[in-house]
């Protein structure tokens, strides 16, 4: 991606070159025209002088003498008819001294000397002027190029200065993280546009922060408020179950309601947990031995694993101590093991490996990689399993983020979840 400054300079360079290329010939042409006009005027003046001063006293015998001493004003016989009369034309003549063709401005006009017709030719050499014009154009180009170069560096310098607040702002936005709940502090600037920009960003950020925390509070409150009606619902179903007059089809309905209620309270519990993690309610940390913790929680899963005929193997290194909240770490491990059980196939495998820098949980399951984009998002569940409440991995991710642990996922026949400490 090109920087703004580079783009500016690129445009600048391009257009400077175009201006140079166009302006040089135009300037040259203009100068030449000006000079030619000047020469033409001089020719007309000489003609006038000749007619007023010379023609009256000139006799036919003087003509060869006149022509002998005047190189530029000559009287020719009126047999010359090929040239147009009374208009100044451009012609080239061979200069005998420095043998080369040189440009001239020439006027042919008819005059009468003592009753005889002659043609008066007035010519002026353009050679010196040509050299002058070239010199002028070169000087002009030199000045222009110099100026453009100076402007180039000046633009760069000024742009750098002018845009500095903008880059500072960019950097601050880059570092901004909504979840850290810290508003970036923009420096005071004295450019109207940048001040507007910073004000706008400030407003945007504080509004985002406000709605973010409002959303967090809302989630927690909503989940909390739901607990009591859920308790009522569940107790009502518990009571309904006691009704001896229930038919088997009614019982099936009650059972299905019961299952949904259980699921609802599970989701609710997880939402509350998420909100609590976000609200930093698991702040206290201690040394947690990961391998011991795994051995502690595993027995709780054996029944679920047996139900699916899963084999769980562990390869745990001892004395891996992490500084974290024990409760949260347990939830993290639980969620991963739970995930590995829930999405496993009948008779599948689960392998748990702990090393000083990582915890790896591998499991069999569906035979294609999972969509990593949706893996850790809330309720971003696998379409094939509607019972999953879709929060387990979101919670795991939230916990890992808290301690700057990294979760990676790989598929190589087994689904590999690794937590890098």
């Amino acid at each position: 991606m090109n920087r703004l400054l580079n783009k500016t300079l690129l445009y600048y360079t391009f257009f400077s070159a175009v201006i140079l290329l166009i302006s040089a010939p135009v300037f040259y042409g203009m100068l030449q025209k000006l000079y030619t006009d000047d020469v033409d005027e001089a020719i007309m003046l000489r003609k006038k002088e000749f007619l007023t001063n010379n023609i009256a006293t000139l006799t036919g015998n003087d003509i060869p003498t006149w022509n002998k001493f005047n190189r530029d004003i000559r009287i020719l016989p009126d047999t010359i008819t090929s040239q147009p009369k009374d208009t100044i034309i451009q012609e080239t003549f061979l200069d005998v001294l420095a043998p080369e063709w040189e440009p001239y401005r020439v006027l042919y006009t008819n005059v009468e000397i003592q009753g005889n017709s002659y043609v008066l030719m007035i010519q002026l050499n353009l050679v010196e002027s040509e050299d002058l014009i070239k010199a002028i154009v070169w000087i002009y180009l030199g000045v222009l190029v110099g100026l453009l170069i100076v402007i180039f560096f000046l633009t760069r310098f000024i742009s750098n200065r002018l845009w500095k607040p903008f880059y500072t702002t960019l950097q601050l936005i880059d570092q901004f993280n909504l979840e850290k709940l810290v508003t970036p502090r923009f420096d005071e600037v004295n450019t109207y546009e940048f001040q507007k920009l910073n004000q706008g960003l400030n407003k945007l950020i504080s509004e985002s922060l406000r709605s973010f925390s409002a959303q967090k509070v809302f989630t927690q409150n909503a989940a909390h408020e739901l607990q009591t009606p859920l308790a009522v619902l569940q107790s009502k179903l518990d009571l309904l179950m006691q009704d001896e007059s229930l038919t088997s089809s009614q019982a099936a309905v009650v059972q299905s309601l019961y299952d949904s209620t259980s699921r609802l309270s599970r989701i609710n519990k997880n939402l509350l947990l998420l909100a609590k993690i976000e609200n930093n309610q698991f702040a206290d940390t201690e040394k947690v031995n990961i391998s011991e913790l795994i051995n502690e929680v595993l027995p709780y899963f054996t029944e679920q694993a047996d139900g699916k005929k899963l084999s769980i193997t562990t390869s745990l290194q001892t004395a891996i101590n992490l500084l974290s909240n024990k409760g949260l770490t347990e939830i993290l491990i639980n969620n991963f093991i739970l995930n590995a059980i829930r999405h496993n196939v009948e008779g599948g495998r689960i392998i748990i490996i702990s090393a000083p820098d990582r915890l790896v949980i591998q499991n069999t399951g569906i035979e294609h990689p999972l969509d990593t984009a949706m893996l850790y998002s809330r309720f971003g569940k696998n379409a094939t399993d509607t019972r999953n409440n879709g929060l387990g991995l979101a919670i795991a991710k939230e916990i890992c983020d808290r301690y700057n642990w990294q979760i990676t996922y790989q598929y190589d026949g087994l689904h590999n979840f690794s937590i890098l400490f």
Binding site: H224, Q227, T228, L230, A231, V232, L233, Q234, S235, K236, L237, D238, L239, M241, Q242, L246, S248, A251, A252, V254, Q255, Y258, D259, T261, S262, R263, S265, R266, K269, N270, L272, K276, Q281, V297, Y300, F301, E303, Q304, D306, G307, K308, G327, N334, N335, L338, R342, R387, G392
Partner: protein, 224 residues
């Protein structure tokens, strides 16, 4: 047996009472902090169910008042607060148990049963159900004097079932009871069936009648 339900959610309180009626408990209600304080200071209860968040006061204060008067009522906190710290605070203040909403009524009943048993029958740690005798201290089960070898889960199951006599217990409640905090994250209750089957078989082998009934697909019932 007298039970006081301190709970501002009337619907929940009546549901609890209706469920406990089968156990021949008499339930009284207190919906506010004030009425709760009045009742506990005047009457004695075998067990008090206490919601910590009352509209006009903190439930923990009721606990403190009870301890100050040196009352021996069994207390079970039923709360929406599920943080460990809240549980510890409640138990430290003298509660006998802590249950987070939402809960299964069967779980509540089993806990009430256990609290009352501990309070009332300090010296009689035996539970007699027809031919079945349960030694609660030794965790020993005998049928007609013949010892029945039960696993810990099977024993827990038996206690849970007998704590909910004549009432249908949902599979979910049994699963949660058996596997603790983790089970409520699970949705496969098949293992309950395996434990029930084993328990039934062991009791039958020892000569006990078949008290555990399956109620449609919903759950199980101890019918004795």
């Amino acid at each position: 047996m007298k039970i006081l339900i301190i709970e501002d959610e009337k619907e929940l309180a009546t549901n609890i009472a209706a469920y406990l009626k089968a156990e021949n408990y008499r339930c009284e209600f207190a919906e506010t902090f004030r009425s709760a304080i009045e009742k506990v200071s005047v009457y004695e209860y075998d067990c008090i169910l206490l919601d910590l968040m009352l509209p006009d006061g903190d439930g923990l204060k009721i606990l403190e008042a009870l301890k100050k008067e040196n009352k021996q009522d069994g207390i079970i906190i039923i709360s929406t607060k599920q943080a460990i710290e809240d549980k510890i605070a409640g138990l430290k203040s003298g509660a006998d148990d802590y249950l987070t909403k939402p809960f299964h009524l069967s779980e509540l009943s089993a806990r009430i049963y256990s609290v009352i048993r501990r309070k009332q029958f300090n010296n009689a740690n035996h539970l007699q159900i027809n031919e079945i005798d349960i030694d609660l201290l030794e965790k020993l089960v005998t049928v007609n004097g013949q010892k029945v070898q039960l696993t810990k889960k099977e024993y827990d199951l038996l206690i849970f079932l007998t704590g909910n006599k004549k009432r249908v217990i949902s599979k979910a409640a049994l699963a949660e009871h058996l596997s603790g905090d983790m089970a409520d994250m699970l949705d496969n209750y098949d293992f309950v069936y395996a434990h029930i089957k084993n328990l039934k078989k062991k009791l039958a082998d020892a000569g006990s009648a078949d008290y555990i009934k399956t109620v449609y697909g919903m759950g199980y019932k101890w019918d004795a």
